[in-house]
Every structure is written in C-alpha cells, then in structure tokens.
Symmetry: C2
C-alpha cells in the first residue's frame, strides 16, 4: 500500500548529534497508536544514539523501561559509553522530553557476521508457511473503533487469517498472533529497525480477550542475525496474564526463514 | 544438604547505604562458578540497591548487562531514581569494582498483590510433576571436571533424572533442563532472590553439547507473583544457537505450581 505520507524508518528515527553523547530527535506523530508513540520505535531511536557512541554498529541485546510516554515532537537523547570492548561494547541511553526521563535503555552491541549460520534452533518455535500475500492487512482502528492506529498507514502489517479472528470479535483464545511486517516503501530491515519489529504487532492478548490499551512497561530485544531484504515474519504470543500484567514473547524471521530477532515484554492489562 | 559454610541469601546480598543512592557490598567467593560470581546473584544485589531508593519494594522487571565480571570482594553500587510513581517506580543502578562498571541494571518495581490469582496462563509451558525428592543433586564440578561450581555448596539444585544426562556425557539434544532450586537453610524465596533463581541453573546448552564457560551478556527477569515458601521448580531452555551466541528462556514456579518468575538471557558460546 504505497502512501504519499509514508516516511522511511531511517527518516523518522533520524538524530542530530549536538554534543558528546547528546542528540536531538523528533518523534513522528504517525508512528503512534491512539496518539501514543510505539514503544519499539522509541527504543530504536534511543538505541541509535547509543550505538553512535560505541565502536560496534549492531545492537544485539537492548532493553527499554518505559518511564513515561513522550508526546510526538522534539526529544533529547543522552548516551553514555560503559565499555568499548573488542567483540562487544555497552552503552546506556535515556530519552527525555522537556527534561523528563521517558525511556531508559541499555544496549550491548557487536558486529554481526554476515557469514554466520544457525548452529542449533530446536528450542525456537517454527516460522509457519503462510505467505505474505495470503495474509490480511490489520485495520487502522481497534476492533471497537475507539482507537486510531496511525502506525498502520506507515507499515504494512498483515495477519495470517487464523490470527485475524479478533478483528471480527472472535479471538481463538490461544493468545498468539502470526503474520508479516513490511517497512514503508519496502525498506530493508536492519538491526535497528528489528528493535521496532518485535513491538509492532497488536497485543497478543487480543487473541485471548479484547481490552483497551496494553501499555508496555519493559521491552527486551535480542538481534540474532542480519536480516535478508524484504518483509519479516512475526509471531507474537502471550504467556501469562496475572496481577493485571502480561508478558509476551516475540519471534521475527526474515523472508528466508532465518530467526533474526526475539523479544519479550511486560505490559499492563485490565484483565483479572 | 545442610552445610556449616552456607550463608543465607540475605546475608550474601547485604548492602550498606553510604550516601544518597550509594551502597557498598561484598561479593561472596562461594556464590561463584569457576571463581566467577553468578550473574543472577549480582543482579539481585544490584536490584536491592535500586529498590531501596524507590517507594515500591518488588522488582517486577529487571535487566542486567554484564559489562565485566567483578572478582569476589568489595563492590560499590550507585542507584538513581528515574520516577517514583503511584503503581510503579523505576530506577537504574550500576555495580562497580575499583571504579570500573561491572553490571548495568534498570529496574521497574511495584507492589505485588498477595491476593492476585493468574487470569490466563495457556501460553506458558507446563511445570511438570517430578517431585523434589525424585531429582538428583547437580555435582559441584562440570562434567569434564575442569570447573568447580562453589555455588552448588550453597544452594540445593536438583535436576529431573531426564535432564541429568549431560552430567554423564549423554545430553538429550533438546536443550532443556528441568529441576528444583532451594536456597541455603531452606530460606524462602522473595522477589529479589527470584532474580537469582532465573540464572541459577547450568546453561541449557549442556543438554545440547557440553562446552566451556557460557558467559551471560544480558539477563532479563520478570517477577510475576509472590512465591510460596519452599523450593522453586525451574525450567531452563535454549532456543537458538547462532553466531556463537545463545538465548535461553527460564520459567520458575513455586511449590504450589504458580508461575512466579520468567527470564531470558543472551550468552556467548563456543559452538558454531
């Protein structure tokens, strides 16, 4: 779905370095859900600042704690190198708005080897085989019509038909969403945009029971390999809803079926 | 296995507050593997400092990036409050030795409700039913005899017989270890010691192929409920070995079968 208003991921995460470890950026109003910026998008922007300060280009382990949600608009990011090592480096970074901490992130970065091949993957779920073309685009509104998901005009997010029941009020109860994700203009994924990919899907709890906002408290992403160009296949699944919180695990495969990123998140939910 | 040299978890994680957000502690030489302190133990110590500074007592999401391994002995921890909120608070904390950053942690804390009950858990693995008494204590040395695991004289870590094959050179290939963990003196687990529980088991990759040290690069823990007294049941499983790194997922149930903590970690491994 080409769209004149679509902006490349590189553009909506662009930073200006204004001093040692200090950056400014602009949170785009279209990368939002109900007006709130997507959490993976904010982590990618924060990690971009962190990796700019260290000798290794690829975040391989990144976490964000969501302290408060920034509004779309100008933000500041402050990054601090913890160690610049031989095979890996670490940095922490904080995204602030009007002086208030919004995202607290820590990044371990390395250089992913394009020649690496998986050695053993029997503990990971299987990718499935429903092709991109057989999947259904996620509507730009939540099932109850209450929330506009502006982000869906930017990315091409498609659900496997078996996962799309919740959009018609018929969740399966399995708490599992499978589908595909493409960046605007078919932009190729890279380790930074994979940080977004693990938080792009709707809450997998929608496949259990539809609720209002499921705000992410913490997001952890491991980037495991350099992705092939093209859309990525995503599995987002809920594991446990307890004490009005849910954890979700996410798996991201590239077009060739290589597992390239994994994530977990803890979020608030009004159930139980 | 009572042991005169066993020290309570509370004692080996004890901190002295020496200023606002500043603490000193002592990494105990017995909470080590081949002389290196256990990573979950160090996260628990670091998180203890963070939670001491905020109004919420229970870490619900905690991560550590392992910048460098401290030696047993004195350490300093510096904690900084990010936000003290109504239902949750956030802090970051750094463990240093001789002025060098060793652990970089961020904590989201809350107050876990003892009356909460799980609402939905169909996405989590099942706990299994092999009782504590039917499990076999993990030896205090690695299978090749090369590494002394002093930690095994402190905690009572038992593997289900089906998971213990690797100790006799016969891994199953599934990359999955199941068993039980008890603290010294049958001490009750709490949210802080659960941060240790998710990193107490041997690398689940030992059930794929035995290797040397599998150093944790990053550890994330979600504490989901207050545990009942007694030992906890643990499932540690590897998911993907690629590019000389492995991720492992961990699930911890209390004695009553309640899923009380979950973890993921990314570690280095000399395979592939």
């Amino acid at each position: 779905m080409p769209n004149d208003l679509q902006l490349p991921f590189r553009e909506v995460t662009a930073l200006i370095r204004v001093g040692e470890g200090r950056f400014t950026g602009d949170v785009h109003p279209s990368w939002t859900i109900g007006g709130k910026p997507n959490g993976g998008y904010l982590l990618a922007m924060t990690a971009a600042a962190a990796t700019a300060e260290i000798p290794h280009p690829h975040p391989i382990a990144a976490n964000a704690h969501y302290v408060r949600s920034p509004e779309p608009g100008p933000v500041e990011i402050v990054a601090e190198v913890l160690r610049a090592g031989r095979s890996a480096s670490q940095a922490r970074a904080r995204l602030l708005q009007d002086g208030h901490p919004c995202i607290e992130a820590v990044i371990t970065a390395s250089t992913l080897d394009p020649a690496a091949v998986p050695y053993w993957d029997e503990g990971a779920p299987t990718a499935g085989d429903v092709p991109f073309e057989a999947c259904v685009p996620l509507p730009g509104r939540t099932p109850d019509g209450s929330v506009t998901v502006a982000l869906m005009d930017q990315v091409d997010l498609r659900l496997e038909p078996a996962s799309a029941g919740f959009t018609a009020g018929a969740p399966t109860g399995h708490g599992e969403l499978r589908g595909w994700l493409a960046l605007p203009g078919d932009g190729a994924f890279d380790p930074l945009s994979l940080l977004f990919a693990v938080d792009a899907f709707p809450p997998a709890t929608f496949d259990v029971e539809f609720t209002g906002w499921v705000p992410t408290l913490e997001l952890t992403v491991y980037v495991r390999a350099l992705p092939a160009p093209g859309p990525v296949r995503v599995l987002q699944r809920a594991q446990l809803i307890d004490g009005q919180r849910v954890d979700e695990a996410c798996f991201v495969w590239d077009r060739t079926g290589r597992l390239v990123a994994q994530g977990t998140q803890l979020a608030g939910i009004r159930l139980g």
